[in-house]
Symmetry: C2
Subunit: 341 residues, 2 copies
């Protein structure tokens, strides 16, 4: 059978072979590759020719083993798939594009176990820095990790690591969103919140309550519905509420995906948005500007955040002082809300 010959990975000669081929020492070749020192013009040419001929590719692993720098930054997102994190990642990638650093991505899958594994893998592979986009790990564990590798955190504020944490005022933004509804005259406002285990979900819910109590309105526990940040859960929860004939005139969803789910539930019951029910989301996903009607929501400047995060990583790696900027969450007024009749 053919095919077993493939065992030998075509791997374009080593620095040794190049040196022999060009009639110089490996040190000289290394110097040419890295531009570490001047080398006579004729040798340089000989070496370059040899590299061509042998299809030489430096072995990054060997280099990293010696220098201790891999020129990679590990990025772990709770979920690469989520449109929200995806946009942050885009920003990170963009900011790293014209630097010698390469991002290496991995998912944490919202699970302590998988996240731990992903972190370990990346550290073993000697990433020069680690960027966590959300995390399910405890503060202690995180501090531990920070001792092993430069660590930058998004969406978590860990005591002791403040300089490398970027968080947003979720609570304040949720308060604003809810208040907007209140100012439009709504009093019975449903809130679809995410899992109690997630910090963002908690904070947004707190903001919702802040707004209500701040305006002297009563809290209605029956209007606080739990979902899992996906469309289906919201559609289901809201349908139950509708079936129970609990009255409400507005919905504040914990994220845009749940807003979409809520929207469909309403549509199924013949309720119009915004005429019968006002709807607000959170995140401003790219798709949310194109829903019917376009969704009023809270914009998280994810792309810029990604860029800022990456730039901070770069600074840290360069040993330069760097502080993470603050980002504002802004309410994007579109067409899914209107004054209560």
């Amino acid at each position: 059978m053919a095919g077993h010959g493939k065992r030998v990975k075509k791997q374009g000669g080593t620095i040794n072979e190049v040196a022999r081929e060009a009639g110089v020492s490996v040190s000289t070749v290394s110097r040419i590759i890295n531009g570490t020192a001047f080398v006579a013009e004729d040798k340089r040419r000989a070496v370059e020719a040899a590299m061509q001929r042998l299809e030489f590719r430096p072995n990054y692993l060997a280099r990293t083993l010696i220098t201790g720098r891999s020129m990679t930054v590990g990025v772990i997102a709770e979920d690469i798939v989520s449109p929200f994190y995806a946009d942050v990642i885009r920003g990170v990638e963009q900011a790293l594009l014209d630097t010698p650093y390469q991002p290496v991505l991995n998912s944490g899958h919202w699970s302590t176990q998988y996240e731990t594994r992903a972190i370990d893998t990346l550290i073993y592979r000697k990433v020069d820095a680690l960027l966590l986009l959300g995390s399910t790990l405890s503060d202690d564990t995180l501090r531990d990790v920070a001792g092993r590798v430069p660590l930058i955190l998004f969406g978590r504020r860990v005591p002791g690591l403040e300089d490398h944490c970027l968080t947003l005022d979720q609570r304040g933004a949720a308060l604003n969103a809810t208040r907007h509804l209140i100012e439009l005259g709504h009093r019975r406002i449903v809130h679809l919140h995410g899992p109690p285990g997630q910090q963002d979900a908690q904070e947004r819910r707190a903001g919702y309550r802040d707004a209500l109590t701040g305006c002297g309105l009563p809290l209605h526990p029956e209007l606080e519905l739990q979902g899992d940040f996906l469309e289906q859960s919201a559609a289901q929860a809201l349908t139950h509420l509708l079936d129970a004939r609990v009255p409400f005139t507005a919905v504040f969803a914990g994220n845009d995906q749940m807003a979409a789910g809520a929207r469909l539930a309403l549509y199924r019951r013949g309720l119009r948005v915004p005429d019968d029910v006002s709807l607000i989301g959170f995140d401003d996903l790219p798709a949310s500007a194109f829903t019917i009607p376009p969704l009023t929501t809270v914009r998280q400047p994810t792309y810029q955040i990604g860029q800022a995060l990456a730039r901070h990583v770069l600074n840290v790696l360069a040993g330069q002082p760097s502080t993470l900027p603050d980002f504002d969450l802004t309410l994007i007024l579109r067409e899914s809300t209107r004054p209560l009749r």
Copy 2:
């Protein structure tokens, strides 16, 4: 100033130190780590204790340098951010979860340059296999890459690499979708297609034409509108068409995102879906089941595809024979289409 002490990365001793600490040779330690051979119980315990004390972590790089296997598989998607590829990636991650292999992701950004760079980086880092989710590279280049590392391709059929290519019958599916519209009585059907440079876009467009000519209907060039697979482009193109008062009763969008854009353009003009205009998308993104109305579209079983791809990689790596399965694209009938009055 404090802080400069951090230069020394806390790095949990080497196998050498462990050996010294435990009073054995490095070979013995290595054997214990890898379970390569029997080791006396007392030494084993001594070594394990030493590893604990020194917080020993094997250096993967050194290991890879010797064994030639990194236990990673590189995954490059045209765009990690696109909901479509994201779901494929989820499948890949899932299938790799309980194997010793780790995925390492990277984006090609729909650009030959970036894709080339991403491939190089991954190969330099010695991934054991490479999985390309879409590619802008030429057949020749791809064959070249396949010579350097086991290569599996999704969305491309490269002569010579057929065994490792997974493609879907985009053309046939587009034909089906269009025919569905024709069977509902539609005659003037708009097609929003992607960039001419993309194979998928081409094929879907060809399928659309196949359906028309196959049913003996005339082609109307003015109804074929170009977009870029994003919402905005579709909204714009369709708005122009509407402004030009070109009549049509149905729209077949090249993907779901463009369908969303079209949907909004229609909404802006007071056209109802499906009452005034029928709409079909392509991809069946998770969000498309929750649009208003829920979108009729072509489902690509992305998650399963991701899993199949990953399993194939695993087989190839294990040296086992493996063939990529075939996947069917199915038309998901929801509520955005209806018979022409």
